[in-house]
Symmetry: C2
């Protein structure tokens, strides 16, 4: 029995995160069933599958921003903030990762959110470089790619049961900064 203190729309979004992270190809009927609502109700709240994916993307972005903001509020340097943020983001990967395979970039809100997050990350990396946290000769675009992909690698370790989120985050940060050679 679903918690009536939470709106129907929020229930649907929660169910969608749960269902799609297990099976990105799942149907709207699967999501409705998991949410404990009728298919018609899902269609009353979201005009279609694409609309639902957009809503999920915007929710994921907000969750990520909030997690990073909360985790890094006491950080003294950008370099420290990036490390702490990595640890905050990694556990969200399990819930958000399926969105990476969804072609939703044509929605201007989604495109803006992605662009904004990439700009913010690149800005923070540039500031960390100025602090001496990264080698200034390495392109910022590459450090952005490496940062995001090592988070994915960490998530894959956790999903496989080979590491805890904390261990995976430490390995990802260690690799990003010092590599894995001796």
């Amino acid at each position: 029995m679903r918690d009536t203190n939470v709106s129907t729309e929020a229930h649907i979004l929660e169910a969608a995160f749960a269902v799609f992270s297990q099976n990105p190809g799942a149907s709207l009927a699967d999501v409705a069933k998991h949410a404990g609502v009728g298919r018609a109700t899902l269609h009353r709240h979201f005009s279609g599958r694409d609309d639902l994916i957009v809503a999920l993307t915007l929710t994921a972005a907000r969750e990520l921003d909030e997690a990073v903001e909360e985790a890094t509020k006491d950080c003294q340097t950008y370099t420290q903030a990036l490390e702490v943020a990595l640890g905050a983001i990694l556990p969200l990967a399990a819930r958000h990762m399926f969105l990476a395979t969804e072609p939703a970039d044509n929605d201007p809100r989604v495109a803006e959110v992605y662009a904004s997050q990439t700009r913010d990350l690149a800005h923070d990396i540039d500031m960390a470089k100025a602090e001496g946290g990264f080698d200034p000769h390495i392109p910022t675009e590459w450090i952005v790619q490496a940062y995001e992909n090592l988070i994915y690698a960490g998530w894959a370790m956790v999903a496989a049961g080979d590491a805890t989120p904390k261990q995976a985050a430490a390995l990802a940060w260690r690799t990003l900064t010092q590599g894995t050679a001796k």
Copy 2:
């Protein structure tokens, strides 16, 4: 007009790589059209979409193995071979990457191919560790994950036009071994 020296089946596989790497959700009709064959012909060669995906996965694995074998045949150490292999694999990512989102693991041939490739990579990393190429305190599972995900990051750089394959491979190897700090 398609090259009649190449079998129909090979044409279909080539077309499938080209079409699916641009749009993983494309239809079999799209693939048939791109291959210059009839839909019925595609169905004569592959019993279904799943069968085609399995064939693509096995072909991709063979192409990867051949590229790595050819690139590393003169390498003196495992560490050198891993670096050279990375450079050989990265350009194939554009063609093969869509397969990562295809749930084909339930096919025993696909599962065996994936398991074999991961075992081989883990073995080579263990040997490189013994040579002093990697820190023995870092789990091999992690280095496997980091290696594969940094290749993906490199592919993303090339796809975005931010680096050449050679530059991307160098950045990936640099990050895997020395990290991106000073």
